[in-house]
């Protein structure tokens, strides 16, 4: 079942220099899919994520999320749409510094005016699954990067959104924490059948996904599907990347998974 449909989407930034960030891009995401979007810098990855997360509007084309067309919604409905249908994980976590970890996690539910009992129930469930119990009462500046990103993931999950959007979730983490977070994401994807769209630079991160979509200069370039072994999937990702010709991609070919 298709959960997200991108159809001929074009985004042009007007200004002193007109810039076409996305050009006639079309793809679909199925329910329960874990999709990585890759591409060199300036290829329009973040713009695409902004368009899906409805904080930016496409110049032309259609985006349909779960049978809803966000472009038809007014501002208020859009906010409610984001609140209920989307979950976000950011590169720099974006936890609110004045709230404790547990408060940060339940924030989407409190904003929606859900009862405290529901919040506590879901919080307990997520805290156990994501191993957050030990630092629930701490402030974001007192925990490590990995812990912060796990908190952010819990925040993105607690309202059980249709689609989780992750923007370079491992960008600020060391390799151990990266692996932890990626394994977490893929286990959530498998167990909860959550749809995750992740934008990343990192071929290792991308190799955890079911499918990798490559874009270049705002246009569709290629897509590859996961196979049995992550090792070979990773190698294939690298091959595509070298074809993409971002200039420095050649350096990556020697990388092997540990």
């Amino acid at each position: 079942m298709t959960i997200l449909r991108i159809k001929d989407v074009t985004k042009v930034y007007e200004g002193k220099v007109t810039h076409r960030a996305i050009n006639q891009l079309s793809f679909e995401v199925m329910r329960g899919e874990f999709l990585a979007i890759m591409g060199p810098s300036g290829s329009g990855k973040t713009t695409l994520l902004n368009l899906i997360s409805t904080i930016d509007k496409p110049t032309s084309g259609e985006i349909i999320v779960n049978e809803i067309m966000p472009s038809k919604l007014n501002k208020h409905e859009l906010a409610l749409f984001r609140r209920r249908e989307l979950g976000f994980v950011f590169q720099d976590f974006n936890l609110l510094p004045m709230l404790t970890v547990e408060e940060n996690i339940v924030l989407p539910l409190t904003l929606d005016g859900k009862p405290v009992s529901l919040m506590e129930e879901r919080l307990a469930e997520l805290a156990e699954k994501l191993d957050l119990t030990s630092f629930l009462q701490k402030k974001p500046n007192e925990i490590s990067g990995g812990q912060a990103q796990r908190t952010a993931i819990a925040r993105a999950l607690i309202h059980e959104p249709t689609v989780i959007l992750a923007d370079e979730p491992t960008g600020n983490l060391d390799s151990n924490n990266s692996r932890e977070v990626l394994e977490l994401l893929s286990s959530i994807n498998r167990e909860k059948c959550a749809t995750i769209i992740m934008v990343t630079h990192d071929p290792i991160a991308a190799s955890y996904c079911n499918r990798v979509l490559f874009i270049k200069d705002g246009e569709f370039f290629n897509e590859i599907y996961k196979d049995d072994r992550r090792q070979t999937f990773f190698q294939r990702i690298l091959n595509v990347l070298s074809l993409l010709g971002g200039g420095n991609v050649g350096d990556l070919s020697s990388i092997r998974l540990p």
Binding site: A79, L96, E103, V106, T110, M119, P140, N141
Partner: protein, 643 residues
Amino acid sequence: MTFHQFAYHNVVRNARIYGAFFLASLFSVFVFFIYSMLMFHPDIENGFLGNVSILGMIVAEIILVLFSWFFIFYSMKAFLEARSKEFAILLHLGMEKKQLSKLIFLETFLIGTVSIVVGILFGFAFSRFFFMIVREILMLDELPLYISWEPFVLTITVYLSAFILISILSVYATPEKNLIDLFKGYSDFNTHHIYSLPKALLGFVFIGTGYILALLTSRMTLYSFGIITIILITIGTYLFFTDTTQFILEKIRSKKHVYWKKYRMLSIAEQSMIMKSNSKMFFVVTMVTALAFLCVGLLAALSSYTSQYDKMNPLGLIYKGHTDNPYEYSHITSIMRELENKGLSYHMASFEVKKQTSSYTQYEVEVFSESDINSLLFSYGYPFVRLSPGEAMFIPYSEESIKQLSNLSVKTVLMENGVEIKIDKVYPKLIFPSSIISLNSIIVSDEDFIRLTNPYQASPDVEPGYHLFTFDIPQWIETKDVGVAIYNRVSHEYLKDHYSLPYYFENTGLKYSFILSTYSLFTLVGLLVAAVFLLAAGSFIYFKLHTSLELEKKKFDVLKRMGLTDNELKRLVNAYLVPQFFIPLGVALLHSFFAFLALQNLLRHFANISIVKELVFAFVFLMIIEVIYFYLIRWRFITHVRD
């Protein structure tokens, strides 16, 4: 690009950042200048307000100066914090600390000079208007605009020195920070929110005790209690903002059913952080605002001194003339006609007063007849005087004299006519204002009064007596336009060395309006000072907001992505801003409320409904200013976080 150009561009191209600082400085220069214009006015030096008011104005001016200095210093500091990232880039590029301070100095100097010049220009332009208002309030014939170097020099000296000193000071006062910390920018989040329970409770206890002491303060304990109260309240307020608020918020946070409700969670968490990191500023703002309230309230209380005035001056109009005063008939008829035209009801009493010499003191006494006095007492509704021949009664000249004279018993002879009298009573109420009658005034029986046929021994050199016409007018405040022509002639004559007119006229309503207008001037000036205080208090908050704007923007960005509706954003901004503005204001109001209760206790004779009315008016006025300011800042804030 030279270094000077760099500093210049920094200021001009960052108008938004500097705008608030510039406007705040501009306004304080503006007020200060207008105020100085009034203070140095040649007419004021000639004393149309009396010496007290000049002293008051100087004190107000000094407070204004001290406060402006503090204000500029604080805003400077807030700016430096807000721009730490920019400075980090400059330092990173290899700018010396010396050059940095030079840069800051140049920038401040530029802003300072421009705001001084513009402030004075505006001030001068508006001083004509301001004088017009003052003239109207004081009912002066004219208060001309004048040009003198003093206000200019004073304003320029005070503010220029402030800007220069503070720009130097604020650079050296900021602690050395690592470049990396500067890059990360200003952040409050690293402070862990701890409070101490004893301190939190102490905050409550101190403020509570202060309030109770304020209520218990009496005339006897004024100094001891007053000082203790001030100390308690000051410390209490400080603890209230550092610990008590944290304690209360922490209590709320522990109740999830209250706390985890919609955006309440966010705003309460935010408040606890704001309160912690800005507690010192809130303390200062509260104290300053309380001072402003107190100053306005005190002025309002003074102006309702009227209630007492009424008692001291029981008569509406008084006309006093020589026995052979040729204008008597025409003046009295014209006054009566004017009163009738105005539709004011009145009761006129005429007195024939004879001067005699008392054998007891060898001084002159003024003798009133029993029936004359009774005619006035009738209109007052006071008890009549009944005297037998040989009896006499003192007329009191002040409230205190009633007591003194009541113990006095004098046997004397009115020497000119050999009338023996015994004066052993005093009329228990004030009949005439003290300016009209002499200190030796007595009432004698009608029988004795008729016997006083021989004139005063010193006549004709000294007038042997006078005719007095009193008008008891219930609506005495409305008589200020009655007999103006006579009044003007009298007051004109009064300025001469020798008073040669055969009559004297007093108009209580007119005098009252003069007194009232003097206090109105006070109130006007006080309000101006208070407005500066309040505006500055608001500006403190604005600057503080400005420093955290980047972080706020980021926060709202996250929230918007997570799905925050526009309405919720506005409510969240309200919940963020309202406590910052109105908690200090509320505490200040409470402080001044108790201060006034204490004051009313002390000045019980001032206690009057009219104080309450004026206080409420003054407070509402200040509140309106603050609310307008709040909406202005809220509007700016919302536009910043929205995009």
